[in-house]
């Protein structure tokens, strides 16, 4: 019923847009895109079980429709919605075959739906209310000050997406070079994770289906070793280790768990900079509790039910960022299409202390009890500095040093250091483009590599092909050390894929 109503809404959206274009009304802008993604897993070593791979991972079609309405200079309304068709049959039972949503599953995503009133009570004050996505910071994607909108990592190849949320924002422009904003997000929403994230808690099994290893809990190494003996003492094939059940603890929906952000942005000479403050929660889950419930069975084997809880720790963030475009063209007698820009961003994070607790129970009796401080309550820094430059022969380079990945917090895994580089080369008036992007973990030397070729046969149409590769050890360097998991090597990071993509925009 809901989907039907949403579908009707989409039809109305398209119909509303069509006459607007025909009449060329300047108070209404209709845009959007159609995109088809086809991906194939090109390895069989990073799945839940050995040999899982060399299959299609994605067969997706997106229809995005965006409408911006400006009925008068003081009012703006924006609606941006997507139909997403996944392309894989999910009908597992005969009765499922009666339903299109099972045979051809889809989602309706409302990315934005908000209204902005300009000059509310004061000509330099705007109010925006509704479903929005906010982005703070000047770095390229790796924005540690950017915490109001959670990340949408459901598609590992599209890491720019965010989870929209309902919010209220006041923006003031007291001077030409000053922008002040205050944002209130009543209800916290966490980040969306890629499907591979579940492998971070998965039980490894041998090809024969026997127990191989359990997820490493965030405990002291000696405690994990002691815990390991609980299971290594038992023949692996006598352990029926069920797939862990992981529960994410959602904070209560009250004022105390609202998010608030205030930001002051300035412009001086060519430099843009801002100071910000955020009160809320970290959008990615942190390990909180785990229980291994071991039950002896009459057949002489053990059933092991592993349940874990994760939470979103509270935090406050003081942020600062800048961007500084440098004009070297006159200094070095360069062409006008050459540009350089430097940017930097830092966030001082004041986290909630999180103590991880674990219990192992055998036949109802407590046999192991461990705990460890997973997040120390001490302030820590996440930061990004980098440069981007456009060179005259169609080359674009973006290079960043990143301290702390999106989902890294000062927990037992810790913050890693990264080099993130993207290099693009365009030919034929931008009709053909090669881009290679990589993120390298400077701590464990794992990396992902994202080469792609784009052809623009006609304006507005992109044909793309490429690969997205994860390189690094799938197993932790130390099976007892929570922090020794390879950033991009661990299976939870994702699958290596080859892809083709077609996108038509208007």
């Amino acid at each position: 019923m809901i989907r039907t109503a949403t579908g009707l809404f989409f039809v109305a959206l398209v119909c509303a847009a069509t006459p607007a274009r025909a009449a060329d009304k300047d108070w209404l802008t209709f845009s959007g895109y159609l995109q088809s993604d086809l991906r194939y897993v090109i390895e069989d070593t990073r799945g839940a079980t050995p040999g899982d791979g060399f299959r299609f991972e994605m067969n997706r079609n997106d229809l995005d429709l965006r409408l911006e309405i400006l009925p008068n200079p003081r009012l703006q309304a924006v609606v941006d919605a997507r139909f997403r068709f996944y392309g894989f049959n999910e009908a597992g039972r005969l009765t499922d075959l009666f339903r299109r949503a099972k045979v051809d599953p889809f989602d309706v995503l409302l990315d934005e739906a908000y209204v902005t009133v300009r000059g509310l009570g004061w000509k330099k004050l705007d109010l925006s209310v509704g479903r929005m996505v906010k982005t703070w910071g000047t770095a390229d994607q790796f924005n540690p000050t950017d915490n109001l909108s959670a990340r949408d990592f459901s598609d590992p190849l599209d890491y720019t997406r965010k989870v929209p949320n309902q919010m209220v924002e006041l923006t003031a422009y007291p001077a030409r070079c000053v922008t002040l904003s205050a944002t209130w997000v009543p209800v916290f929403k966490p980040s969306q994770l890629p499907p591979s994230a579940a492998l971070g808690f998965a039980v490894e099994r041998t090809p024969q289906g026997c127990f191989k290893s359990a997820p490493i809990p965030p405990l002291a190494i000696s405690d994990v070793q002691e815990l390991g003996t609980l299971f290594t003492a038992i023949p692996a094939c006598d352990l029926n280790f069920l797939d862990p059940a992981v529960h994410a603890l959602t904070p209560p929906v009250n004022f105390a768990n609202s998010q608030v952000g205030v930001k002051a942005a300035f412009q001086a000479w060519e430099i843009d900079f801002s100071l910000s403050y955020y009160y809320g929660r970290f959008g990615f889950p942190v390990a909180y509790t785990a229980v291994a419930d071991v039950t002896s069975t009459p057949s002489g084997k053990f059933d092991v039910a592993y349940t874990a809880e994760v939470l979103y720790p509270r935090m406050q963030v003081l942020g600062a960022d800048f961007t500084w475009p440098l004009d070297f063209t006159e200094w070095f007698d360069l062409d006008d299409d050459v540009s350089f820009g430097f940017f930097g961003e830092a966030a001082l994070i004041f986290p909630e202390k999180v103590v991880f607790g674990l219990r192992a129970i055998q036949d109802g009796a407590l046999v192991v009890e461990k705990s460890h401080v997973n997040v120390q309550p001490d302030p820590f820094m996440k930061a990004t500095v980098g440069l981007d430059t456009t060179l005259p022969w169609g080359t674009y380079l973006n290079a960043q040093y990143v301290r702390g990945f999106f989902d890294e917090f000062a927990d037992l895994y810790g913050l890693h250091n990264y080099a993130v580089v993207a290099l693009e080369q365009k030919w034929l008036d931008d009709e053909l483009q090669i881009r290679v992007a990589t993120a390298a973990d400077l701590n464990d030397y794992s990396l992902n590599v994202y080469p792609q070729l784009t052809w623009v046969p006609v304006p507005g149409v992109e044909l793309q092909g490429g690969t997205f590769l994860f390189l690094g050890d799938t197993a932790p360097a130390d099976p007892y050390d929570y922090a020794s998991k390879s950033r991009f090597g661990q299976k939870a990071a994702g699958r290596s894929v080859a892809f083709v993509r077609v996108k038509g925009s208007w």
């Binding site: 390991g228 609980l230 038992i234 229980v291 009459p298 003081l318 674990l358 302030p379």
Partner: protein, 282 residues
Amino acid sequence: MKKISLFLGLALALAGCGWESDGAERLAERFADTATTTDVGPDEVAAPDVDLGDVGGTGLTGRWAVQVVVTGTMAPIGISWDYTETTYFLSDMTDGGATADWTYCDQVNDVPKAPNPTAQPQALRDLLASKPLRVTLSSDGLMPSGLVWTWGLDRARLGDEKPQGLTATSDAVIDEDDDQQPGVTLEVQTKTGGHFASRYLARWERFDLQAGSLSEDGQRIEGVLAADAIEFALGADNAVVNRDAKLAVTPGTGHTWRLRRVPSDYTCDQLKTDAAGLFPAP
């Protein structure tokens, strides 16, 4: 400079939020009714002294109740559990006072963290009671060294050294309780005391008693001992319990032996009843 100070001041104020989520506390609340790992063992329960009446006798002559307490760790499922093994015997002089025979009466194994307690079947009790430990006394008192006690093993084939690597098919392993299973059979119980499984095992234990002191009234002798032990898992009727106990006796002479003079007609059943009173917690 003022702005920097303000910024830092604000930062310091923020650091004092005191937010905390404690997973250990959460689990403690969630499993408040789960069996705890601490236990009050029988030795920790104060018991009144037992009035045995006028027990005559001088020196080491007569009948004595014996308590031997050995501590250590075991790790049948990998996790190390502390255990206290308290064994009771009745001692009678033989050979005109040159030796004493210790007849097995009972053994209490206190392993607070073990999910499943063990129990000795009557066949094992009868077996152990049927082969008293022959204790050779020195001229200056009770100080036998190298007192070896075995379960399910053929002493004649063992020699004097601590055995290693024995299996169900080893020559030294015998079906001593005559139940058609190797070694002896120990019962593993459910939490409610029902039968859970049977373990087949062999055990070798050695006591090196140090010189004891006789009380002024001549009714008690107490001393310390060094001990060693090894246990061999020989099988089970349930694979869950078919595992090596990995006994590790606490090194040194921190173990104790105690004798209490009892009437000549004192029985094992009385000893089991009176144990806490005969040997009150130190």
